[in-house]
Symmetry: C2
Subunit: 318 residues, 2 copies
């Protein structure tokens, strides 16, 4: 077993942090490490929180952490929202508000960079969630902004997907259009002291009637005012109920399997691409000058690279 | 030359539509077609418009089309915003407002699906823009929602990136956090009849002082009220000025080269992955049962697939 896997198993927080860096930096030992921690995973409750920038997701996550800690539950947080104060992009001191949790050993917060290569964000986020699960947090919160393909893809690892909305924001139509309605397990009306709550409730129920009218599970709607700590109890109850539903119905197991299948695909993609680009780097990108000089189109360049790679592979073995 | 390439060259709109379908459906002739249209490209002005859902991008695009048509300019539009009435996701009849342009042969609108595979959206969008350029539109507008990695990546094909904001929305901080500030060439304050314009102007200038203080080009700020057709003249003037700047400074050429390099990478990725998954499909995904039964972890499964692929490749040639 990889040394870091063993240390993670014995709840060494520094080992967890280093393992996440392995994932982010594509360390040569990464696959070995992920293989070794696979059986260590404890199937924590993975909760995804998504919603527009400004919906108050971060504040809600902050209060939810406090709520869970009062019940002696440990919490891992992965923030993949470029607008989140948890993530590196915070510029206005929001981050300070979160700092209370940083000294609590029952809470582990990690923000994921958002400017990596295409598809990289979803992969590293999911691998980070797996590492946190192997470490043994009771609940793992994944915060993302609710628009974009990578973000939808990230959510596929969650057991429960909570969509955070605000009254009077016109969010429902956006949520519907962006394909989030179909994957939502729970709606949170945050800032529920603002006007427009009954209208938003009505819209949500209409949409649910449309999308989930014959579904075995109907997503509940919870009202919160996170800055006043209101509604957190009910939110946590509903999240737990969804977990029970997943267990009871077998839906949880099939979600986890789909998620594992996705990971197989992502790892294959990533490993192959790494090999190809390392080859081109060693060769000094010979097609680049020709493309730049307008002497070669990008599609011919791509074919050249693919042919060289196939040839090298055969040469190595032959 | 591929038959469709030739027909696109002679401005056959149905051939363009079919070629875009080739790109979206990954037709076997796709690479041949893209190679053939490469030299036909006319270097239209590629304009990206991005901004939060609800900022009024679609309305602005709509009015801009009308404005350009009055000057006898032809316009191609690619909508990759899942919340846009141009795209398939529209549910509330917004689309009807656009329908005026559908009967105009000088306007060609195509919306891109947003639920494809990871990275697929950026690739197919850029290839669609290239096809439209080969057809010969004077201006090509690319509308995306301003959050998410794929969306940032799509924008890399644009010559000019316009960011659409609203007064009183708090958008500036979001734009800054999401990494859009660095790539913006022009800001549009749309709905400029709402209160808060001077504050927004001030915030934008502060941000620009910070990010672009020693840049050779400072993004201008244009005020529009698109529903009243106000500010369109100035917007188009500023867009043209940016194009002139790109040409004068050589920056345009280097952007186009970077974009071509990205396309080489994307094509290599896509073609390799297609081969691997076609192989697995032929084999009936033998690892799937083991992963599902918990007998194999996803990382070992990935290694198995990679090893089989390498072996098959060598076997074929040897």
């Amino acid at each position: 077993m990889h040394e870091l896997a063993e240390r993670i198993h014995y709840k060494d927080e520094r080992a967890l942090a280093r393992a996440i860096s392995y994932v982010e930096n594509d360390h040569p030992d990464k696959l070995k490490l992920l293989t070794d921690i696979h059986s260590l995973q404890k199937k924590a409750h993975f909760i995804g929180l998504t919603g527009s920038p400004g919906a108050g997701k971060s504040s809600l996550v902050n209060r939810l952490i406090t709520h869970l800690r009062k019940q002696q539950l440990t919490v891992g947080v992965v923030a993949v929202d470029p607008t989140s104060p948890f993530s590196g992009g915070a510029i206005l001191g929001d981050r300070v508000r979160m700092s209370g949790h940083f000294t609590d050993s029952g809470v582990f917060i990690r923000s994921m960079g958002t400017r990596g290569s295409l598809g990289g964000l979803a992969r590293t986020t999911k691998e980070t969630v797996r590492l946190m699960d192997a470490y043994g947090f009771d609940v793992i919160l994944i915060e993302t902004v609710g628009v974009g393909q990578s973000e939808l893809d990230i959510m596929k690892i969650a057991d429960t997907i909570a969509v955070v909305l605000n009254p009077g924001s016109g969010d429902v139509v956006q949520v519907f259009k962006a394909g989030i309605m179909e994957i939502a397990d729970l709606f949170v009306i945050n800032k529920a002291d603002l006007p427009g709550v009954p209208k938003l409730m009505g819209e949500l129920h209409s949409m649910l009637d449309l999308v989930k009218h014959d579904a075995p599970y109907r997503p509940p709607i919870v009202k919160t005012i996170s800055v006043q700590n209101k509604g957190l109890d009910e939110l946590w109850d509903r999240l737990k109920e969804h977990r029970h539903y997943l267990e009871r119905s077998g839906e949880g197991e099939s979600r986890r399997l789909r998620s594992l299948e996705h990971e197989v695909i992502e790892v294959v993609h990533h490993e192959l691409m790494k090999e190809v680009w390392e080859q081109e780097e060693r060769n000094g990108f010979p097609w680049l000058r020709e493309v730049q000089a307008g002497e070669m189109d990008p599609y011919t360049a791509a074919q050249t690279i693919l042919n060289r790679w196939r040839k090298n592979l055969i040469g190595k073995e032959g």
